[in-house]
Amino acid sequence: MTGIRKRVTIGFLSIVVLLFFSGLVSLFELNNMSRDIESILDSSRRSIELSESMLDAIRANDRAVVNYAVLRDSTYADSCRLSFEAFSAKVDQARRETSASASPLFDSLDMFARRLSGVVEELRASRAIENLLLLDSMSGGALSFDGRRWYDKNYLPVYNSTSNSVMRVMSLAQSTLSPRAERLSRNAYRSVTPVFISLLVMIAILLLFYYFIMIYTVNPIIKMNRSLGDWLRYKLPFNVKTECHDEMLELKEKIENVINSHKAQK
């Protein structure tokens, strides 16, 4: 048991510590929540960006194939290969950057990408178009290559399936994010639980502090005041009982000494 000053200081310090603690915990929890939301938004943004870049790459490949096979522009021969390699790289990047749980979404995309690769590779490796174009020019246009027909029959179905698969991956990747967001919204109250508990503890401490101050400081002062008044007015004996062993006890003893010395002087 310490002096009144120390006890009151400790009481207030405890409340300050709890307030600081609650604030710190709420900051920490809100920071965690904000990080989670940021991560969800980042994932969503990244998923859209990757899907767009995959679609851009496959469209570039389509343009190159159209120019090479349909419009018979041989300068696009390398573009067909390069644009497909860019598409494959984007798919690999998307797979790496997507969470493991979303990885199965890429399996069907991989299958279509392989088929597309087969078509493009076959076209490029056989140099069929170049040969046909060459023969066509040598024969003065007698031998005609129906690039449009080849494009419609061989390339377009695979291209459509692959781009649809990219779109599906994009929408599925978005849907994998929603349970995370849902879980976050459902468990938001969990984040405030520590703050709530520390606030409850603070209320308990405040009530205890009030009770102890009343018992050990306020009540003895009131009793001493009343008893001293009774002594001054009616000369009733100064009889105050205190449980404390601090300045209150000293005060009580000093008042008793003053009263005793006053009695002795008489």
């Binding site: 006890r7 400790i10 009481g11 520590p194 508990i197 102890f212």
Partner: protein, 481 residues
């Protein structure tokens, strides 16, 4: 009554809890700072603050009245259960407010009933805290504080008198300080021995410590969803069965046996009766299982029967099988064991075998006194006559216990439980056993129970642990002069 004195001593108990929370945080730290680390550290700091606060303001006192003693003990149990919720609530998972309260009360009262569907999802720190609640509750939260904190001084006698049941004080012919030390020494030594034995039996250190703490507190919490069935080891089952049976014996008798005193476990009438009931129940269940062809051989039936008899009679509640699939006779025998329970002065809960023995003797004497109206017939235990006040208290307690189970069953069934589930849950919680039958069987849990039923069961657990009158007195404190 001086409320400030009551608050001061409850604060002392909270300091002990804060220390155990910090220890659990240490376990969490050692497990690569798992998810329970910050909840445990935060809970520990908050508990420390509430515990320290009254110590700063209220001066220590040597004189505690009986009324204050009751309030300290009952208040400490309730506040410990409330504070014990902090780590669970802060961690989250399956712990809603009601679930955290249920788990905390179940731990401190050593009931061992759980609301967790996936115990293995809990991080190690939280698992250790869960076991700590049961270990502290095993000898009583106030008793723990009495031994650890020497500053309590002369108040020990009053508090230990309130904490220990009247029956438990028999066989302790020492000063209060010595009694408290004996209780804790026996408890710690048996826990350490069980830990080492379980480690040698094939468990990892963490599981061995947790299961030893839980078995010695006769709580029945496990670190595995399938309880002891997970380990599928006969040796582990035998070690736990022996530990549970030992923890069901009066600690004073265990101490007397170890130190070679005359009044040891082999001479005690109550202990002999306790062993006789275990043997009879095991044999009955073994035969029942064997005749019903539940297990392939009589030896497997015996192993299961003995383990579950030890588990239920000592109110531990460990399981290696789904007892719902057992014949009705075996189930009824286990329910009987759940009501009778082990000896007073041990960590077990329930009616206590001492009271059953006294009730049987009183019944016999009643018949004799009707045959010989002028004869002076005394009820004796170990050759010592029991005074009529003690016998009256025993009779009242038995009636109150049965009424409590009846009321519990009534409330459980009112909120949707079937008769078997409602009755066995009331028995399991009032006797601090843990698992019951029906929907709350040995391989199930209490998660599906409605909120009101869970609250009702926690009240039963506290009533059972505080031997009914302790908790009831708190509500009539104003009229206590």
């Amino acid at each position: 009554m001086r409320l400030q004195v009551v608050i001061r001593y409850i604060g002392v108990v909270l300091l002990v809890l804060a220390a155990f929370m910090l220890l659990s945080a240490g376990i969490s730290y050692a497990s690569n700072i798992d998810t329970s680390y910050s909840p445990l550290v935060m809970s520990s700091l908050l508990t420390l603050l509430i515990g320290c606060f009254p110590l700063i303001f209220v001066p220590p006192t040597d004189r505690i009245s009986t009324k204050e003693g009751f309030c300290i003990v009952v208040g400490a149990w309730i506040v410990a259960c409330l504070v014990g919720m902090f780590p669970y609530l802060m961690w989250g998972g399956e712990f809603s407010i009601i679930n955290a309260w249920f788990e905390s009360v179940s731990g401190f009262t050593t009931t061992g009933a759980s609301i967790l569907n996936n115990i293995e999802a809990l991080p190690r720190g939280l698992l250790f805290w869960r076991m700590s609640t049961s270990w502290i509750g095993g000898v009583g939260v106030v008793m723990f504080a009495l031994v650890i904190l020497p500053s309590i001084g002369k108040s020990k006698m009053m508090l230990s008198n309130v904490e220990l049941s009247s029956l438990a004080k028999d066989n302790f012919n020492y000063r209060t300080q010595t009694v408290v030390r004996i209780v804790l020494s026996v408890y710690v030594i048996l826990t350490v021995v069980t830990t080492v034995a379980l480690k040698l039996g094939g468990m990892c250190w963490f599981d061995a410590i947790c299961h030893a703490m839980s078995a010695c507190a006769t709580c029945g919490f496990s670190t595995k969803n399938a309880s002891i069935a997970y380990f599928n080891s006969g040796l582990i089952e035998w070690i736990l069965a022996i530990a549970m049976i030992l923890m069901g014996i009066h600690f004073g008798l265990i101490y007397a046996t170890i130190t070679g005193k005359r009044n040891n476990i082999f001479r005690s009438e109550i202990t002999r009766f306790y062993f006789a009931i275990i043997i009879c129940a095991s044999v009955c269940i073994t035969l029942s299982l064997w005749f019903a062809d539940v297990y392939p051989s009589i030896l497997v039936s015996l192993r299961n029967a003995l383990f579950h008899t030890a588990s239920f009679i000592t109110t531990t509640g460990y399981a290696t099988a789904d007892c719902n699939l057992w014949p009705s006779f075996a189930i009824l025998t286990l329910i009987f064991c759940s009501i009778v329970c082990a000896c007073a002065g041990s960590t077990s809960g329930g009616l206590k075998i001492d009271r059953l023995l006294l009730a049987i003797k009183m019944l016999r004497n009643r018949i004799r006194s009707q045959q010989h109206p002028t004869a002076v017939i005394r009820t004796k235990i170990d050759g010592v006559s029991q005074d009529s006040e003690m016998l009256g208290t025993v009779s009242v307690y038995i009636v109150a216990f049965m009424m409590m189970i009846l009321a519990g069953t009534f409330l459980n069934t009112m909120f949707g439980a079937d008769l078997m589930t409602g009755f066995s849950a009331a028995v399991a919680c009032a006797s601090n056993v843990g698992p019951g039958f029906g929907e709350v069987g040995t391989m199930d849990n209490y998660s599906a129970m409605p909120i009101v039923t869970k609250l009702n069961l926690t009240v039963l657990m506290l009533l059972g642990r505080l031997e009914i009158f302790g908790l009831i007195q708190l509500f009539f404190i104003r009229w206590w002069r």
